[in-house]
């Protein structure tokens, strides 16, 4: 048998063995047995030295061809088998993708905080500062400098937790008006601020009353601030918090620290203004008090009311949250039932 015939035979046998191999171990054995140092091809090549010089390169080239072909066949077979193994494993790894995901711990901001943040962000965008004041206030700032002298009848409207005769739990965030006005340097520009915070009233807690709740005070003082500016500002606020569909209307009211004083209503959430039992068939819901800052308030804080003026408003985030989400009991905000706290999570 010639070397070439031997090689042919080896080639055919090798391919058959590769084809027969069923796992990676087999493939490896076949590789060693065919192409290894002690394998038949090496053997055959070793016999080449007996060939004449003319034959040698031809046979050598032929042998290399066969070896390359077998190597390629081995590689291909190995890949086939590897794929089969991988596919078998993947098939085995199939899971029920409808099982729930692994829970993660995730906390949520309080719904009132969310509303306060929203208000803050809106007014920051319009160039307002955010200021916070003391919760334990002096009678002077809470009442007197807000144009509510000691015997003012409107003090009855705000039942107060007193600590001493002159010290009290603030009943409103309005004292920040006086505190800020006293300090502001108008040569540096207008005063535009909001002041969010906790306030306290001497009330018995029930579904619509809480002895502790929140307010956001707003104040703008400059040389040319108008009531139309107040109306526009409140409209922007209503649109931000509730959506563009909501309209604002002003009604006369009375606060000692503003003149004119107004109450602002917005379109009823429940009926969109058609009239329902939530809005007592008016189509409107009262949401906040506002007005043009009373000259006495400016005067008492050392600001000349003949030069400067502006508007103030007071917003109740608790009330906003109750209206916006239909929360029927204000106490929910302060009892912190986890099932309540985790309802206001939608951020999209």
């Amino acid at each position: 048998m010639s070397l070439k015939d031997k090689l042919d035979e080896l080639h055919q046998r090798g391919l058959a063995e590769i084809k027969k191999s069923t796992d990676l171990k087999d493939v490896n054995q076949v590789r060693v047995s065919l192409l290894g140092k002690k394998g038949p091809i090496t053997e055959v090549l070793r016999g080449m030295r007996d060939l004449d010089a003319e034959e040698r390169p031809k046979v050598g080239a032929f042998a290399n061809e066969i070896r390359d072909d077998l190597t390629a066949a081995l590689t291909k077979r190995r890949e086939e088998l590897e794929n089969a193994v991988l596919n078998a494993r993947l098939a085995n790894e199939k899971i029920d993708v409808t099982l729930p995901g692994t829970p993660v711990a995730k906390g949520e901001p309080h719904v009132i905080q969310q509303i306060i943040d929203q208000i803050e962000d809106l007014f920051l965008g319009m160039g307002y500062q955010v200021l916070s004041g003391p919760e334990v206030e002096e009678d002077k700032y809470n009442f007197e400098m807000m144009n509510l002298p000691k015997n003012h009848p409107a003090r009855d409207m705000q039942d107060t937790f007193y600590i001493t005769k002159e010290i009290l739990m603030r009943t409103q965030t309005s004292p920040m008006q006086a505190r800020t006005l006293e300090k502001h340097d108008f040569s540096q520009g207008p005063l535009k601020m909001i002041s969010p915070g906790v306030v306290y009233r001497r009330d018995t807690d029930d579904p619509t009353h809480s002895h502790q709740f929140h307010q956001v005070e707003g104040l703008v003082i400059d040389k040319h601030i108008t009531m139309a500016d107040l109306k526009g500002t409140l409209q922007v606020l209503a649109h931000e918090l509730f959506g563009d569909k909501f309209d604002v209307r002003l009604r006369p009211s009375y606060f000692p620290f503003t003149e004119p004083s107004v109450e602002a209503d917005i379109t009823c959430f429940n009926c969109g203004g058609k009239g329902c039992n939530v809005c007592k068939n008016t189509g409107w819901i009262e949401v906040l008090g506002a007005g043009m800052v009373h000259p006495n308030v400016l005067k008492m804080a050392g600001v000349d009311p003949d030069v400067y003026g502006g508007f103030a408003f007071g917003v109740g985030p608790d009330r906003f949250a109750m209206l916006k989400y239909g929360v029927d009991d204000i106490r929910n905000f302060y009892l912190n039932d986890v099932r309540f706290l985790t309802q206001f999570t939608k951020k999209g």
């Binding site: 905080q113 937790f161 520009g189 009531m227 009375y254 302060y334």
Partner: protein, 802 residues
């Protein structure tokens, strides 16, 4: 105040429905609570004529009545009212009718006798008990004899009127009357209104011979009386009774009803005294004397002191001025001579008296807001006139005047440019003048400058801003333009403290805690638990309840209250944080200082259990992980350390750590003491509280870029046995100090103190990571450094390297 739509229409020619009128008032003047038409919802309630009555055979109080209701045949109705009688005109609810509270009346049998409908009391058709005349409170109502059987009863009783309930703000005392409301409406609708002018006929002797008044004008700037003799006390005519009950007043008798009616019409509270019961002919308006007593009309007994203003005769107080009259001089059926009092008392005194005696009356409400000092005589005359008309009284000649102080009317300068500058409008002078004049103000103009004279009755108008409100509301807030402030630019940015507080909330939410907002007012006990520094309590002077009486000096107890609330509702896993203030007070200061704190509390499990993840109850290290991660977020520029603290009475002595920055204590964390947890009725709970203000004030690290080394790191593990009292902190500190230049990190990966470890020892294992940022580390260098550390651990801490 409930104001009658029909009454308004008698004076003003308005073509608007009651609901629209109410809306207009609300938009322009004062708030409206609601609008009610009493006949709304009622059906088939008619006048019946009782033709005959006979006793029910099986009852000792029921009567069988034959009642003419305007149909061919009378109806047989069984009636149990004690005052039913033959010949009466009564209110009959026919079969198929609807009475108050939407109750339907059907034919029925009463103890075997058929009854076709019901004879009604006023309460049964919707009247409040408070307004039903005393004679009819416990029985059926008897209509006037000229009523026509079969007619609807509503018009006879004024029930087709609409009543607009005004919620009058403290500044608008003038709106607590028909006349005030009419004046405002006249301006709102721009229509003329003519109010009644009283015409009193004086037929008796001079009052000066019968009555003298001594008044301290500081207490009562206005005090007047008229005397009316030969009074015949009787029920008021129907029209007057209707006016009163529709306004919420019970008709009593002609004299008392007239005083109430005049108050409703003029806004001037009046009081009628029985003159014959005065001791003497002198009346005094003075401060009460300590020890004096007064029994008021409502039979309440009051101890008086020198803060009270009283009306007195020669012997004793006969009325609490401006609040309520006394019983001893009250009008009775036998009264023949009436002294009518019309006065204005100093509002501050009245407010305090009403509070002190807890007597808030319609009179006191009006005096507190201020009564028209220029209208006192008119109201007094109108009452006297009515007493002639309705009680045959003879008005004595003249008015006894105790005081007559009328303030000067306010004269206010106003410029058109100011009006437009504040309102943001472009109004013309004529428009502004017209609005002011329609309100009854007098306006003198010079160019664009106005001088406005305000009638005395509008005691709420003093300054230009008050006039602006009048102009704005009558012009209409809807008509104002909608703009935003313009002017110099201002920056809207949060302060670094505000940014840190927001970052705090976001950090803790990211770590799994829900934000809670708890009450800052708490019990005396809870206020002083978990104290981080010594402080006096701050107490409310008059708390509403012991639950909310003291200002908190910690935030944790509020969270424990929240956990208790959840636990009681079977919510077992609760993870909360709260950012809020605590209130520390120094002895001798009335006012506490306020410090921002941040606290957290976890009970149950933080990671919710899932089908592939078992529930793991929170423990010390979990809450410590949260605190560590949070403080890392806040990037305090300083070493944060944790030291065991066995001395906080509310905390577990073995599972509590102080949190220190640079050795300065800023908070604590750990497990709530089981006895405290039990007190709160909660399970094992882990908490932390930090002085947020301190964190805000501390210097912070800035973010900076650190080159990530391209050269491989080498790790070495070390396990050792150390005595129990050696802490992780000590070991890590030593390794870090002695680890050499290339030591990058030390990480604890195992703690074991089980059976395989000798008693008094524990086994700890750490991974040490070495890296050179500039070249590949040589193994030898690491080995050298590592061996140095091993030796130090053995020498300094008695570690046995394993």
């Amino acid at each position: 105040m409930k104001i009658s739509y029909n009454w308004i229409k008698e004076y003003l020619d308005l073509d608007v429905k009651p609901a629209d009128l109410a809306e207009k008032i609300e938009r322009t003047s004062v708030e409206v609570d609601d609008v009610v038409t009493p006949s709304d919802g009622l059906k088939k309630i008619v006048v019946g004529h009782v033709l005959s009555i006979e006793a029910h055979p099986d009852s000792d109080h029921l009567h069988i009545c034959q009642v003419d209701v305007g149909e061919d045949e009378p109806l047989q109705i069984v009636c149990g009212a004690p005052n039913i009688d033959k010949g009466q005109m009564v209110i009959v609810a026919l079969p198929g009718s609807r009475i108050a509270d939407n109750v339907k009346i059907k034919k029925s049998k009463m103890r075997g006798i058929p009854s076709a409908g019901m004879i009604c009391a006023l309460q049964e058709i919707g009247f409040s008990d408070d307004v039903v005349p005393k004679d009819y409170v416990d029985g059926i109502y008897v209509l006037p004899a000229d009523a026509t059987p079969g007619d609807d009863v509503y018009d006879y009783l004024g029930m087709n009127d609409s009543l607009i309930d005004l919620d009058v703000t403290p500044n608008r005392g003038d709106m607590l009357s028909l006349n005030g409301t009419l004046r405002d409406l006249a301006a709102i609708y721009d229509k003329p209104v003519t109010l009644d002018q009283p015409e009193v006929k004086e037929t008796g002797d001079a009052i000066a011979d019968q009555l003298t008044i001594h008044t301290d004008a500081d207490l009562a700037p206005q005090y007047r009386m008229r005397l009316v003799k030969q009074i015949k006390i009787a029920p008021s005519p129907m029209w007057l009774q209707i006016r009163l009950w529709n306004a919420g007043y019970r008709p009593i008798n002609n004299v008392v009803d007239i005083t109430n009616y005049i108050m409703l019409k003029y806004g001037q509270p009046l009081h009628a005294f029985d003159y014959d019961k005065f001791a003497g002919q002198e009346v005094y308006v003075r401060n009460a004397k300590a020890g004096e007593k007064l029994t008021t009309l409502d039979e309440g007994e009051h101890d008086l002191d020198d803060h009270d203003i009283v009306i007195a005769d020669d012997k004793a107080p006969i009325a609490l001025a401006g609040v309520m009259g006394g019983l001893s001089t009250s009008i009775t059926d036998e009264t023949t001579t009436v002294a009518i009092e019309a006065a204005v008392f100093e509002h501050d005194h009245i407010r305090k008296a009403a509070q002190r005696h807890n007597l808030h009356t319609d009179a006191s409400q009006r005096f507190e807001r201020g009564v028209n000092r220029a209208g006192v005589q008119d109201a007094l005359d109108a009452a006297a006139e009515m007493m002639t008309d309705l009680a045959d009284g003879a008005v004595q000649t003249g008015t006894a005047v105790g005081s007559d102080n009328v303030p000067e009317p306010a004269v206010i300068p106003l410029s058109l440019s100011h009006v437009n500058a504040v309102l943001g409008t472009d109004l013309e002078l004529a428009k502004v003048v017209h609005i002011l004049e329609s309100l009854g103000f007098t306006v003198a103009t010079a160019g664009e400058d106005m001088t406005v004279t305000v009638p005395i009755r509008r005691n709420d108008i003093h300054i230009p801003a008050d006039l602006l409100e009048e102009i704005a509301r009558i012009y209409g807030y809807d008509e104002l333009p909608t703009t935003l402030p313009t002017g110099r630019m201002t920056m809207g940015t949060l302060t670094s403290a505000q940014k840190l507080m927001r970052a705090t909330r976001h950090s803790l939410e990211g770590l799994g805690l829900n934000q809670a907002i708890s009450y800052a007012l708490t019990t005396a006990d809870k206020a002083k638990m978990f104290m981080m520094q010594p402080s006096e309590e701050t107490n409310l002077a008059w708390p509403m309840s012991v639950d909310h009486a003291v200002l908190r000096m910690n935030v944790v107890t509020g969270l424990l209250d929240d956990i208790a609330y959840n636990t009681a509702r079977k919510v077992k896993d609760v993870a909360l944080y709260e950012q809020g203030r605590v209130f520390y007070r120094e002895d001798g200061n009335d006012r506490p200082s306020e410090e921002e704190h941040i606290a957290g509390a976890i009970t149950g499990t933080l990671m919710p259990a899932g089908w592939n993840q078992p529930a793991k109850d929170v423990d010390f290290y979990q809450i410590k992980g949260i605190v560590e991660a949070y403080l890392k977020d806040m990037a305090i520029n300083g070493d944060v350390t944790y030291e065991a603290n066995a001395d906080m009475p509310e905390m577990h002595p073995g599972r509590t750590a102080d949190i220190l920055v640079h050795g300065h204590r800023i908070g604590f964390m750990g497990q709530v003491h089981p006895t405290i947890a039990k007190k709160f009725k909660i399970g094992a709970t882990y908490v932390f509280e930090l002085n947020l203000q301190a964190i805000i004030d501390m210097p912070k690290q800035e973010n900076q870029y650190d080159v990530i080394s391209r050269y491989p790191a080498i790790t070495r593990d070390i396990a050792m046995l150390v005595p129990d009292e050696v802490t992780n902190d000590q070991i890590v500190a030593l390794i870090e100090k002695r680890g050499g230049a290339f030591l990058q990190s030390v990480k604890l990966f195992d703690v074991y103190d089980g059976v395989k470890v000798p008693k008094g020892k524990k086994s700890l294992a750490y991974t040490l990571t070495y890296q050179d940022k500039h070249e590949t580390l040589v193994d030898d260098a690491v080995t050298q450094a590592f061996e140095k550390v091993e030796k130090r651990l053995q020498d300094d801490l008695g570690a046995e390297i394993r």
